[in-house]
């Protein structure tokens, strides 16, 4: 599908720090955390430092007084991407945020209250913050975005879906520009889930959190462009995943360098096998697995590689439990 989306702004919040330089350098140090409810082994997790100075202005926002960590990740990444936008441009900006688990920390806290203390103890202050689109609403409010707002859910491939949606909005003329973000927050419940899926057994695998986003316009010659997107390569079993990955990669130009993005997860050997004869883009730092935040980080990392020496690049978006997608990016002319 032709997207022709020009990237007019970028923002990133990562465990390696705040901003694009931190994303490119990718120096993050894991902390050891127990899986929820399971005393015993600990696992390395990459966390965002919510006490970093960049977050101070957001902690002072009245609207964000009860907001979950994911909201803070998002609002900072969004503000970076919008740093050049005038108030009028912001008012005509749509926002799309893609999540996998969304507001997991508050959801876990709210449900734990119900289970351990009883339904009467459930907090009315917490519940609204568990809803997927609450962080989107907060970001729109704080940054003055009056256009349309969507919260999308899925595995990493929801990032492709979000970009396709942005393209539809721009082609329909519903908004002047679109801010597309991906985000996840850590909760120990994630470790329990990953442990049950045996992902934590993989050497080098790191659980992570954060956010990133791009501000998109209709394509112009001066900007880096997301030219094409493909998605919908679904699977349930490993065998189906192999077939879907092969079918997806067959749609990519074999001469265009491909950025390998499956790292330390169950898809890594498959990607290695299927792409070993293709030209590869230089490796980028690994910042752990944070589903939609990871998909967004990888897009920004891919953008940073583009230039005269690498004018085009294929970026696979490997969804870890539904489907695969692929983005084609082109450097500014």
């Amino acid at each position: 599908m032709k997207l022709d989306l020009a990237i007019a702004g970028q923002g990133a919040v990562t465990p390696a720090g705040i901003g694009l330089d931190a994303l490119r350098e990718g120096k993050a140090v894991p902390v050891q955390i127990e899986a929820s409810g399971r005393p015993g082994p600990t696992w390395p997790v990459l966390r965002v430092d919510l006490k970093a100075p960049a977050f101070a202005r957001w902690h002072r926002e009245p609207r964000l007084r009860r907001a979950s960590p994911i909201t803070f990740f998002l609002v900072e990444a969004a503000a970076q991407a919008l740093s050049e936008a005038t108030p009028q441009e912001r008012a005509e900006t749509g926002i799309i945020v893609a999540f996998s688990a969304g507001c997991l920390a508050y959801s876990r806290r709210f449900y734990e209250q119900i289970v351990k203390q009883g339904q009467r103890a459930a907090s009315p202050a917490l519940f609204p913050e568990t809803v997927f689109n609450s962080p989107v609403s907060h970001v729109a409010t704080v940054l003055g975005l009056n256009g349309a707002a969507y919260a999308l859910v899925g595995d990493e491939s929801a990032w492709v879906s979000a970009l396709i949606t942005a393209s539809v909005w721009l082609k329909e003329g519903r908004v002047r520009q679109v801010l597309v973000l991906g985000a996840e927050e850590f909760d120990p419940l994630v470790l329990a889930a990953y442990r049950s899926a045996r992902w934590l057994r993989r050497k080098g695998f790191l659980t992570s959190e954060g956010a990133a986003g791009v501000l998109l316009h209709a394509a112009d010659a001066k900007s880096t462009t997301i030219t094409d997107a493909r998605d919908g390569y679904i699977y349930r079993t490993k065998k189906e995943a192999g077939e879907a990955a092969q079918a997806l990669l067959a749609t990519a130009d074999p001469a265009t360098p491909l950025l390998r993005t499956a790292r330390h997860n169950w898809l890594a050997p498959l990607e290695e096998q299927l792409t070993r004869n293709r030209p590869a883009a230089p490796d980028v730092p690994y910042l752990g697995e944070a589903f939609l935040a990871s998909a967004a980080w990888r897009t920004l990392q891919a953008v940073s590689l583009l230039g005269p020496g690498l004018p085009r690049l294929s970026l696979p978006v490997w969804g870890l439990n539904h489907q695969f997608g692929l983005l084609e990016l082109a450097a500014a002319k």
Partner: protein, 407 residues
């Protein structure tokens, strides 16, 4: 602005608390029945509210029992509803699978397979480690989409929107956008929601759920009734429908959506954002408010929502308030959250097709400003040309859809 002027609906299907398919649900709805009943799926003894509108799950006899056992309740609702829509559109083969191998899907939900997630969390909290993977691997919303895709035999682009209670309208609007921009020719779209403890308790602790009858637009309304449902439509370009000889049920002629940033859980008191959303949808449909025969209102029966919404209709409709008939079907099937925008769109569409109108049941003392417009028992309209479905949600999501006569 390009618009979905040549987008038609060719099939619909639903599972609701009033019926296991759309025709049964519609018949019960226009007859004025409501589905409120004690909620028995989980213990509600710590809640103020103990009732909801639950669905009877349709049998999936053609699927192996072990496959059906692994489906979340959300999938048990979504699969028969989507299958009914595809069959209605003439897109199912003899094996009851889609005749279109590539079929984009645009769906909505707020909780996905939440009950599996709750089971997983309970096991983790209790430090019971067995069978955790089965629970966690099937709770995410994309797993219900995968269940749909694999059971009904199609693949392709999928879009899952979780915009709270306006999600269903957003999913339909996105499907229309895909077609209008040439990204797709035919899309399966809709929403699904299964009642989950976390969500039920959430609304209860906000004191947003009623302990009595759900009475939208009543002066003495006391809150919403939680419901569950799945509803699907087949949307396609008129050209695609014509090529395959499908008969359009109606056109999707307008879609408006915007974000009300006034408050996380309350609409702007003057209703101006909702008014603008309705105007956008009407403008795209090329109609004025007086052209609307019926509006399926959001009408949750909470104090704040219905008051603001009634005011918004007064502003939007002006002198057309009265001639344009209004009702909220949440009194009958409850607030189905992520499915609400889809099932209510189907009810509006059925009103357009039949001229019969869903009555505003459970009404005792209507809000005066909207009273002249509320649909009475066994009411109908002659030759309706356009209808609207309106939704509002947490986070300020507002959306409106306009359906117009096919001719």
């Amino acid at each position: 602005m390009s618009g979905p002027h040549d987008i038609v609906v060719t099939g619909i299907g639903a599972v609701t608390p009033l019926g296991e398919n759309f025709p049964d649900s519609w018949e019960a709805l226009v007859a004025g029945r409501d589905a409120q009943a004690p909620l028995e799926r989980f213990d509600t003894s710590g809640c103020r509210c103990h009732t909801a509108a639950s669905c009877r799950l349709p049998a999936l006899d053609d699927l192996p029992a072990k496959v059906v056992r692994r489906f979340s309740r959300a999938s048990r609702l979504a699969i028969p509803a989507a299958r009914e829509a595809l069959a209605h559109a003439g897109l199912l083969d003899a094996a009851r699978r889609s005749t279109l191998r590539e079929l984009p899907v645009s769906v909505s939900t707020t909780a996905g397979g939440m009950s599996f997630g709750e089971d997983f969390a309970r096991l983790v909290f209790a430090e019971k480690h067995a069978h955790l993977f089965d629970q966690v691997s099937r709770y995410l919303p994309q797993q219900q989409v995968l269940d749909l895709q694999q059971t009904l035999g199609f693949r392709g682009h999928s879009f899952i929107v979780a915009n709270a209670c306006a999600s269903g309208a957003n999913a339909i609007g996105h499907a229309a956008g895909l077609i209008a921009t040439g990204a797709a020719e035919c899309v399966l779209t809709g929403g699904f929601e299964a009642i989950a403890e976390l969500v039920f308790v959430g609304f209860d602790c906000l004191q947003a759920s009623t302990t009595g009858k759900c009475r939208p637009f009543d002066v003495n309304r006391s809150g919403l009734m939680i419901g569950e449902a799945a509803a699907f439509l087949v949307l396609e370009s008129a050209a695609h429908a014509a090529r395959r000889g499908a008969v359009p049920l109606c056109r999707l002629s307008g879609y408006g959506h915007s974000t009300d940033v006034f408050h996380l859980t309350q609409p702007k008191p003057d209703g101006s954002v909702l008014v603008e959303v309705m105007r956008t949808a009407a403008r795209q449909a090329g109609i004025t408010p007086r052209d609307l025969a019926y509006i399926n209102a959001h009408g949750t029966a909470t104090q704040v929502n219905d008051g603001v919404e009634a005011g918004a209709y007064t502003t939007f409709l002006g002198p057309a308030l009265g001639p344009t008939r209004i009702s909220s079907t949440k009194a009958a099937i409850g607030h189905t959250l992520g499915a609400a925008g889809s099932i209510e769109a189907l009810f509006a569409l059925a009103a357009l097709r039949s001229g019969k109108l869903p009555p505003q049941i459970n009404l005792q003392t209507p809000i005066p400003e909207i009273a002249p417009a509320l649909v009475g028992a066994q009411e109908s309209v002659e030759n309706p040309r356009h209808v609207m479905s309106v939704n509002l949600g947490f986070g300020g999501s507002n959306a409106a859809l306009v359906f117009s006569h096919a001719a």
